[in-house]
């Protein structure tokens, strides 16, 4: 029987790339957005305190 290891390896690498890649990209995007949100909220807080 032929050895199909190459097909198996490609499938597992592809799956790892898709699932792992998405987890990495979305996780990073979430962290960046959280940081921007905090900065924006801080800036708004400063503006309010100056106004007062």
């Amino acid at each position: 029987m032929p050895d199909y290891s190459v097909y198996v390896m490609v499938v597992y690498l592809f799956a790892a790339l898709v699932y792992g890649g998405l987890a990495w990209v979305w996780g990073r995007a979430g962290r960046t957005l959280a940081l921007r949100l905090t900065q924006m909220q801080d800036r708004e807080g400063d503006n309010h305190s100056v106004g007062r």
């Binding site: 199909y4 097909y7 499938v11 699932y19 949100l37």
Partner: protein
């Protein structure tokens, strides 16, 4: 939903741990007497296919919930589900193709199961594209919810395609007929555990994407508010 999102990091680590254990199991099962090493492809293909269908079912339920209750949480989860489902459908088709070449002698056949699965991937991509075509979140959400509900007709077609038509694709792997599952012996437990790991993976990716969408919408709303005050 915020409490769920806070727990998602732990869900991610749990998923990674379980997936690692499953991989160890998968590469320690004996080779199939007909498929040889290629049987290991099914441990990615079958759970991905099940999740591609399950995520679409969830997407449909969130869409109904959104249209009925106008809940923003449902809309965010529906949007996230489209991306996660598309990933599962893509891996299903690619892994199936890479299994099909050595087993069937072809990368692709216009078989009922394969074609209906391709339709599911196109539906996911269509839903993502339609939502991105709208600037207004509410209009985009409503349009994609309607498309998603109509698209749900593909789910029973995919599931029963191997029963209704004579297909190149084999019958269900978890077939619970009188003869029991078609995969038995030492090959079955890793498939069950891998399916559990993929459910966790799906939940993790869904919540991760949902968090990103929620933050993006909050940021957009804040920027809009600032621009209107300026």
């Amino acid at each position: 939903m915020n409490r769920l999102l806070a727990w998602n990091r732990w869900l991610g680590w749990g998923t990674l741990l379980l997936l690692s254990a499953c991989l160890w199991m998968v590469f320690h099962v004996p080779m199939d007497y007909q498929q040889g090493n290629a049987v290991r492809i099914l441990y990615v293909h079958v759970p991905s296919a099940k999740m591609a269908l399950f995520v679409y079912l969830i997407l449909t339920l969130f869409s109904i919930w959104y249209l009925w209750k106008k809940s923003e949480t449902a809309d965010i989860l529906a949007e996230a589900a489209a991306y996660v489902g598309a990933a599962f459908a893509l891996v299903t088709l690619v892994s199936g193709s890479l299994w099909g070449k050595p087993m069937w002698g072809t990368w692709w056949a216009w078989d009922a199961r394969l074609t209906s699965m391709l339709v599911l991937l196109i539906l996911y991509v269509g839903i993502i594209a339609l939502r991105n075509a709208f600037d207004d979140t509410v209009k985009g959400g409503r349009a994609t919810a309607i498309l998603a509900i109509f698209g749900a007709v593909d789910l029973p077609i995919i599931h029963f395609s191997v029963v209704w038509w004579r297909t190149l694709h084999q019958p269900p792997s978890f077939n619970q007929s009188a003869s029991g599952p078609t995969i038995t012996g030492p090959l079955l437990p890793p498939l069950i555990w891998m399916s559990v790991a993929f459910v966790l993976l799906g939940m993790f990716l869904l919540l991760l994407k949902a968090r990103e969408i929620q933050q993006r919408r909050t940021l957009d709303a804040m920027e809009l508010e600032r621009a209107s005050h300026a």
